[in-house]
């Protein structure tokens, strides 16, 4: 028997019994869809393989995707909205890094020190997840192949394979402080 500790969507501390280890991700999905989270956001954010990004099951993290009235897709996690950014590969003398997709937001005063990352100038941000390198793990995929939070019936086939990829606007590597602030003010219930 296993037991997983969650913070519920109401902020309560609740442990759920799990019959066996192979049922664990199912339980995380089931309660994650309610916005329950387990554990803390690691500094630098959760790390996943690059090829898991298109159909990643955000429910595993207690997060969900949603589309703003303006049509931008954001990921909502514990009261914060994270924006998708594509990072170019790095190939300098000091560092070699493959391309990545990162979900991040501007930092707030109330964010603990260890999750803040410095960008240009005084701007600080917080990363929810970064998808880079590695080999795809099917267990992280949204069951049924659709992106979690994006109902798989209604979605046009064209948007399926890489719904996050298109819009150039969202692909900005540099954070846009003003815009970030605005987006995060919304309460997407």
């Amino acid at each position: 028997m296993l037991h997983i500790e969650f913070i519920t969507d109401l902020g309560a501390r609740v442990t759920v019994d799990v019959e066996s280890a192979d049922k664990l991700l199912d339980i995380q999905r089931q309660y994650g869809r309610l916005g329950w989270t387990s554990g803390e956001l690691p500094s630098g954010g959760y790390q996943f393989p690059f090829d898991n990004e298109p159909d990643f099951d955000w429910a595993l993290l207690g997060a969900r995707k949603y589309t703003t009235p303006e049509g931008e897709e954001l990921v909502y996690h514990k009261g914060h909205a994270y924006r998708r950014r594509e990072l170019e590969p790095v190939d300098s003398r000091k560092m070699k890094l493959p391309a990545a997709v990162k979900y991040s937001r501007g930092a707030k005063n109330s964010d603990p020190e260890h999750v803040r990352e410095k960008a240009d100038g005084e701007f600080e941000y917080v990363t929810l997840a970064i998808f880079r390198g590695g080999r795809r793990q099917d267990r992280y995929a949204t069951p049924g192949g659709a992106s979690s939070g994006a109902p798989r019936t209604a979605a046009p086939a064209q948007a399926q394979p890489a719904p996050q990829r298109p819009r150039p606007a969202a692909a900005a590597v540099a954070p846009r402080p003003a815009a970030v602030g605005v987006v995060e003010e919304e309460t997407p219930f």
Copy 2:
């Protein structure tokens, strides 16, 4: 089986077994009425849909409403009294926010950094809950339609039961720091 961790009204750490997930809110209500709380006050306070405010069940948070001898309704939570404030909608170039209702109090020295919010000048405050936007969720409502702690039927306003919690000892409340900055007051969220 689930297990929910509470801090009791006596400050003790107590876990309660819960038969199934659909019984969880009942248990939170049952023990919340005794002043038991689960989890920490999130920075910026708990977030609920605007339309849940009128009949919100404060017992879910281990809080309760009470009326001062002067007739003001306050919410009492873990030894602190929170005052109700209505926030106008914001519609500026930088930010668009719908109207909200907020329960907040002045900060104390002993409040942890991450729950303090800055208002004008040096004044700092702490938000218990903010009701803004979103879509009403019936599960947050007081069962029977009355506001929790303020039963509209039997109990006369003067002689409420409230056997667990003495009435507020201090009748004094420092004059409302009127200038609680509008924008700041609107908790990013």
Copy 3:
């Protein structure tokens, strides 16, 4: 089934199963008599109704009353001795407060920030409990009507049982505020 988490008199983290909610205070008394505590001292100290002070059962907090060789009654809690103080009612323009009884001690370097309260000058203190206002709750009373740790019947003042906690070893005497530091240097086993 409930489960209550204690820190034992040896500093160990121990959880005790409790059959039902109505047995909880019994369990807290039973283990509290051994010096076990549950949860943290809240900032500002525990709050109880004024009328609970005379026969308050300190075992509920893992504390106990004892009498110094000089005849002063102190409350011993987690290695600290707290002194009883009576607070006059306050009736100024800014604040109205009924009379209170407070158990407090001088702060030490090792006390966490959130339990320190400022007094005059640089003096800081820590409050264990404050009894003010409210309505007496019988469930907080010492069973049998005696003050916990100071049985009024059988035990002669000299030869009290207290098998777990010997009497204070040192015999410091000094006037009020200055003496606090002195008293607390003792290890009152």
Copy 4:
């Protein structure tokens, strides 16, 4: 049923079920002999009665005594070596304290603030345990009457009753920084 939380010798967080309260110290001894500890070192160190010092069972704290190649007896606890020091009684106008035996070590950068104590100058130290005053409690004694970690067969009778008492060198109240550093670098597996 009770449950005690340990940090194992490998740093893992493990809870052990305990049948009843009277079995608790047995369990603490059993796992303490493996170096498992429960709870945090309290500021100022664990406090025990003076008369418990000669045959104190260090396994209760997850500690053990060992003898260096130079013949000094140290107490090893969670990767640190503590040296035995005898404190003279204090009898000044401001303070009266009986004699004590203290196990302490020099502080390290990584020690949390609340366990550091100031000595002369800038030197800081950490106390594992202090034995002062009070009345002996047999439940803290090493079962069989020998000091834990000092096999009772081999030990010469003369060293039995108060093996820690003799050597004047070890009775120094003032810490000896250089020596401490050396000792603590050792990994006495």
Copy 5:
């Protein structure tokens, strides 16, 4: 019955029941191979006997060894890559220390204060484990005699199974100390 608390590879807090104390290390190995860890990295790192280094089972710590494309063996633990370093014995007037093997990495801003150690200049590093002195303990060895994560038999170096953790995606090359920063920027799934 025992219960061990893990942080899973997804950052979730999960407790696993363990039948008896002698099964504990098996469970730690089983889940450690998935990257699950229990407890915090101690300051100064885990300490093991010198003779345990060659066949140490890194799965016990939720870590694993892997070989970079350049042929360097690193240990991967909770998102960080640690490099192996051999420390010469110290035999000065102030300190005597036997030879050691240490696994460490450069510190990051997000590392908590208590795990940072100062090196020359402003450089700070974090130690995962140090192997020094002591007596070999077979229970720490990789079952079957091979180093965990680097099976010496069936698996060809190129096509290792490692289904959970892809090989390091980036190909950083650089000389010793300076390179640490580089290597750690990679996300070695």
